[in-house]
């Protein structure tokens, strides 16, 4: 069997060899592969090998109704699904001219930030596991699980919520939810010093993460790096601030930037974002009860809902970077064309390939996890 992606090295120099990193490898994030050519343990060439998770989203979405696609989009990025729903819904709203009620906007922001915390906690865990620090992973994933409980309470699902629909959100918050969210945030803040001791300030972690996978500012801008990875290069670019959507202009938060551009800086940028997300959520807890009104603007019969002809581009700052949907409607019940702009396809393919050159075997997993790419979103 010759696998489709295999390009053989016909007569390699005798001191080089190939190694397959993934898809069935614990050092890889999800079902993804990197083929590396090595000399000793230094990487000469790395070729990202995706496509293991390809489902043809953009094609499938053309065959489903506008409202059916709400169920499909969160599956594009598994660890951080809410921005997908939100962005898709917002693009549809832009074409359809729907107005989202203010309360729904606040709830959306709350879910977005909760999802960001979940994704970052997950990444911390994965990042720690690449260097054998499983304790952090066990604690972090458990912490995330408590957030998933809250998601379940609001949306009825742990992972794929399908909660944000064009025009608003599906349901209002349950009774006493904000209190429970507040308690959980207290708990997270109480646990943060533990994580600091264990992970962010651990000498081993700092030793290993600093200086690997360095992206300079120019490289970051020319390679299309977005999100925390960009802000780890000390570039204060954040869509929530630069191209505000929903109710972000009303919220106080800092754009976290870290100097360095290496794996450690990217981790620290995410840590700062978790703290900022907690801050945002606290403001929401304080203000949401005072905001009344509907949670959804009325839709026509969703099964026979033709959007007007038009196109829209909506973008969101997700935990991975800039997530965007470009949707074209030809006036029918289904999208004419959907394009998903995921941040991970830049991070996991072009950036990763370049960062790995000159790195060592032991850095591969760490660089990949520090970029926090999301393979299902790369492959779509």
């Amino acid at each position: 069997m010759r696998p489709e992606n295999y390009r053989p090295v016909k007569h390699p120099p005798s001191h080089e060899y190939e190694l397959y990193f993934g898809p069935n490898h614990p050092g890889i994030e999800g079902n993804y592969a990197i083929r590396v050519r090595l000399k000793g343990d230094v990487i000469i060439e790395a070729i990202a090998d995706g496509g293991y998770l390809h489902r043809g989203f953009e094609k499938i979405m053309e065959e489903r109704l506008w409202i059916q696609n709400v169920a499909l989009v969160p599956r594009i990025c598994v660890p951080d699904p809410v921005p997908m729903e939100e962005t898709y819904s917002r693009a549809v709203e832009m074409i359809g001219g729907l107005e989202v009620p203010v309360r729904a906007q606040w709830i959306r922001v709350m879910l977005l930030e909760m999802s960001r915390i979940c994704a970052h906690l997950f990444t911390f865990g994965g990042n720690a596991a690449t260097i054998g620090l499983y304790t952090n992973m066990f604690w972090g994933v458990t912490m995330r699980d408590y957030f998933l409980d809250l998601f379940e309470e609001v949306t009825g699902a742990r992972i794929y919520h399908m909660f944000i629909t064009p025009g608003g959100v599906r349901r209002d918050l349950p009774e006493g939810f904000l209190g429970r969210l507040g308690n959980l945030l207290d708990e997270l803040e109480r646990r943060m010093p533990e994580f600091e001791d264990l992970f962010f300030e651990s000498a081993v972690v700092i030793n290993r993460a600093s200086g690997i996978g360095i992206i300079s500012q120019e490289q970051a801008l020319s390679w299309g790096v977005t999100g925390p990875n960009l802000r780890a290069c000390d570039l204060p670019i954040d869509l929530r601030r630069d191209d505000p959507y929903l109710v972000y202009p009303e919220l106080e938060f800092d754009v976290v930037t870290v100097e360095g551009g290496d794996a450690l800086a990217r981790m620290m940028a995410r840590r700062g974002e978790v703290i900022q997300s907690i801050r945002i959520l606290r403001q929401i807890i304080a203000r949401l009860p005072s905001i009344g009104g509907a949670i959804r603007s009325p839709l026509p019969n969703p099964l026979a809902w033709n959007l007007p002809v038009g196109e829209a581009y909506a973008r969101t700052e997700s935990s991975k970077g800039e997530t965007a949907f470009y949707i074209v409607s030809d006036g029918g019940p289904r999208p004419y064309r959907v394009h998903v702009r995921g941040p991970s396809s830049m991070h996991a393919v072009q950036v990763l390939e370049k960062l790995l050159i000159g790195a060592r075997i032991e850095d591969i997993a760490q660089i990949m996890f520090s970029l926090d790419a999301c393979p299902p979103e790369v492959d779509r």
Binding site: L133, T135, W139
Partner: protein, 298 residues
């Protein structure tokens, strides 16, 4: 003659059973630190029996099989040459130096077997394991040398007797604390626990040496882990903690030595190979050399 037979049969068996307990302790301690329940008491046995009971057993050639035999054989030999309460039969026929080198035989066997699997991950794992051995063995050897100089003998039985004659005050840990501490750090590296777990490194080289081990081959590695923890614990106990007066005390000491390692391991990440060498050649080596200087000065 009968005492020899008893040695040959019971010493490896005791080592294995104790090793199972040590493995269980390591897993339980880890579970507790990770705030979970952890495996049931018989889990190490289940794992080993399960692996041996696999219905297909994949081999990568004769050397792969031979390596498993060398692995078990080397450790069984090491167990027989260890002085434990009640069984000192052969500890006098080979001394501490012999024991240290016998312990390298299973390592060499494993290395050869992994090499014959022809998996680059395995080869890198062995390369790292040998590098790690060079890193931790130097402070360990210094500690051993210092202890031997202090006791004036390499005969294991005599080392134990010297320490037991004077009670806990004459234990190696009390008379030469620096050497004992340096040795303890080296022993931590020897057990291959984080931050020195560079040769398993799942996220880097997919468990390295174990990558092509399956079925009873993997089962042998699990058994090896039991033997390894036990042997290291006993050697350290013999050198610095007064050896064994009787079984309860002796086992308590062995468990304590291993416990120190497994208790601190879970809050560290894994060093890079070169960081580990630098660390090992800096701190434990320095401490052990200072201890050696003290021993020589006396």
């Amino acid at each position: 003659m009968m005492s020899y037979v008893a040695d040959f049969i019971f010493m490896p068996l005791i080592a294995f059973v104790t090793g199972l307990g040590l493995v269980l302790m390591a897993r339980r301690v880890r579970a507790k630190i990770e705030r979970r329940v952890g495996p049931p008491v018989l889990q190490p046995i289940y794992d080993i029996v399960k692996l041996y009971a696999k219905k297909t057993q994949i081999s990568h050639g004769i050397m792969h099989d031979l390596s498993i035999m060398m692995l078990l054989g080397g450790f069984i030999t090491a167990e027989i040459f260890l002085p434990v309460p009640g069984f000192d039969g052969l500890a006098g026929e080979g001394d501490l130096i012999t024991l240290i080198y016998i312990m390298m035989v299973p390592m060499l066997g494993l290395a050869l077997g992994v090499g014959s699997c022809a998996n680059p991950n395995g080869s890198i794992g062995i390369s790292r394991a040998l590098t790690a051995m060079l890193a931790y063995d130097i402070p360990f050897i210094i500690a051993v040398t210092g202890a031997c100089m202090a006791y004036g003998t390499t005969n294991l039985i005599e080392i134990v007797q010297i320490q037991q004659a004077g009670g806990p005050a004459s234990w190696g840990a009390a008379t030469m604390p620096l050497l004992a501490f340096g040795g303890l750090l080296a022993v931590h590296g020897m057990m291959g626990k984080e931050p020195f777990e560079i040769y398993i490194a799942p996220a880097e080289i997919a468990t390295g040496p174990m990558v092509e081990m399956s079925g009873k081959y993997m089962g042998a590695l699990f058994i090896m882990q039991c033997f390894q923890l036990y042997t290291i614990g006993v050697i350290y106990t013999t050198l610095f903690l007064g050896g064994g007066e009787n079984w309860p005390f002796f086992l308590a000491k062995v468990f304590a030595v291993v416990f120190i390692s497994v208790a601190v391991t879970n809050v560290y990440g894994r060093f890079k190979t070169d960081t580990m060498i630098r660390w090992m050649w800096k701190w434990p080596t320095g401490i052990a050399l200072a201890g050696l200087a003290l021993v020589m000065a006396n």
